[in-house]
Amino acid sequence: FRRARQVDAAFLEELEEILIGADVGVETTMSIAEDLRRAARDTGTADPEELYGILKRDVESRLRKGESDVTLADSSPTVILVAGVNGTGKTTSIAKLAAYYMGQGKKVLLSASDTFRAAATEQLGIWADRIGADIVRHKMGSDPAAVAFDACEAAAARGVDILIVDTAGRLHTDSNLMRELSKIKSVVARKIPGAPHEVLLVLDATAGQNAISQARNFKQAIEITGIFLAKLDGTAKGGIVVAICDKLGIPVKFVGLGEGADDIEPFDAELFSRALFE
């Protein structure tokens, strides 16, 4: 691929296979191909390295829309609300985020606001023990917004730097559950000024085009400020985030690279773009 000398049909077909194979999707792939064709024509370049460079930077620029850092609030606590469809890796990603910030000397509190799924609060409780973070838990079946409310109070009372709120997995097409999620957000917003300061959507790197629909619906319900791309240690490339960031302006903030508490990296657009083509 890197030996291509011109943007001809064979080159475009190979490019298409790589990008679509990486879940970038048809629409965004065609847009990238069109950019490349135009750039090649304008510069008249025949150097494969230069073409590859144009391509990589094109993908990178689509990934750089929006702020890819997490800005901590001026006054404590910074509240991070975490949401996403079932099984994408929310609870585990929260443990990773907590460990990440504790590694920076921050005091972290977790809100076990998934009161629906079997053993959800136990799961987060075990993570809290393992990493030494504080946690607010109610029993299964209680009101998730009430747990978040109590966690906000505890965060203020205990002088916590970062409060991370776990929520139950839910399909973006379930309007009742999406309404429940916006209620959790409103409760937190009313309790702590400026909260939630970050709203992270956890996406599974193996997800296909449906992730765009997920991002769109979650954005509409609770204004997603960033994506946590989990399970990028598999063979899936997670290219769907290129389409999501490009179309919806939602940046990726972190990636998950395994099942341990330290398997987290802040998002690096250049690294990600390069990996798409490897």
Binding site: D23, V85, T88, A119, D204
Partner: protein
């Protein structure tokens, strides 16, 4: 939807007696786009389009059906043929029948294990489950809670997953359980150690049915994991989960194409009665959008 896309392309077919190469090529382009947007694997789409193109060329445009409809029918029927046939139910050649679930992290195995138990209860069977995920925090607890909701025994224990499974099967034989459902830990198909573990569980318990539990929103990567799990475990079937969402579910076609193994059931919700038998024709409609 694909029928609308076809209408545009195929309007020019009106009054023509047969479908020609040019208008088939246009229609196939639409099909290809629709399938890729539905997350069917790139290579699987390429093969599919070739097959359908052959069938469409030379097909007589039926007088009673619009060319667009006939096109859709050819595509639809080919999808149904590829994703079927379906043998309904879970074969139970022996007692206890051992059913093993495996798959990537978060695909829905633990929930599906309980759904299979619920399904078997409704068939008058007496299943039990085995909590063989000894690494995920509270995984055993999760399955125990689900077992409690159904009144189904959950076997768990100390030590490594293969040993727990072997002991569970031995106990099942003693107490006369009809079916033993093994819930295993989520794992990456590229994790050699974990693939060795799941292979070890299969070797030592000799399951009658091994099902891959796969998330319906999986994209192009579905073929990679499905192929690997099939090579290591020789699957008997696939269960596609979370079809109560709006994922088109192209992974169904990809997985079937690359493993040849039947899709047995679909998960359509979080509650334990949300397991349905797979219908290729309904899936074909869904994939075509």
């Amino acid at each position: 939807a694909i029928t609308e896309k076809f209408e545009g392309v195929v309007r020019r077919l009106r009054g023509k007696a047969i479908i020609t190469e040019k208008n088939v090529a246009d229609a196939m382009r639409e099909v290809r786009m629709a399938l890729l947007e539905a997350d069917v694997n790139y290579a699987v789409v390429r093969e599919f389009v070739k097959t359908v193109e052959k069938k469409a060329l030379g097909a007589d445009v039926l007088k009673s059906v619009s060319p667009a409809q006939q096109f859709v029918k050819i595509v639809h029927d080919e999808l149904v043929e590829l994703m079927g046939p379906v043998e309904p139910g879970i074969p139970q050649p022996d007692s206890p029948t051992i059913i093993m679930l495996a798959g990537l992290q978060g695909s829905g195995k633990t929930t599906t294990a309980a759904k299979v138990a619920s399904y078997l209860l409704r068939k008058g069977r007496r299943p039990s489950m085995v909590a063989a995920d000894v690494q995920r925090p509270a995984a055993v607890e999760q399955l125990k809670i689900l077992g409690g909701q159904l009144g189904v025994e959950v076997f768990s224990g100390e030590g490594k997953a293969p040993d727990i499974c072997v002991r569970a099967v031995e106990r099942a034989r003693l107490v006369g359980t009809s079916d033993v459902i093994l819930d295993t830990a989520g794992r990456l198909h590229i994790d050699e150690e974990m693939m060795m573990e799941v292979k070890d569980i299969a070797r030592r318990t000799e399951p009658h049915q091994v099902y891959l539990v796969c998330d319906a929103m999986t994209g192009q990567d579905a073929v990679n994991s499905a192929k690997a799990f099939d090579e290591e475990l020789s699957l008997d079937g696939v269960i596609l989960t979370k079809l109560d969402g709006d994922a088109r579910g192209g992974a169904a076609l990809s997985v079937k194409a690359v493993t040849g193994k039947p899709i047995k059931f679909i998960g359509v919700g979080e509650k334990l009665d949300k397991l349905e038998e797979f219908h290729p024709d309904r899936m074909a409609d869904r994939i075509l959008g």
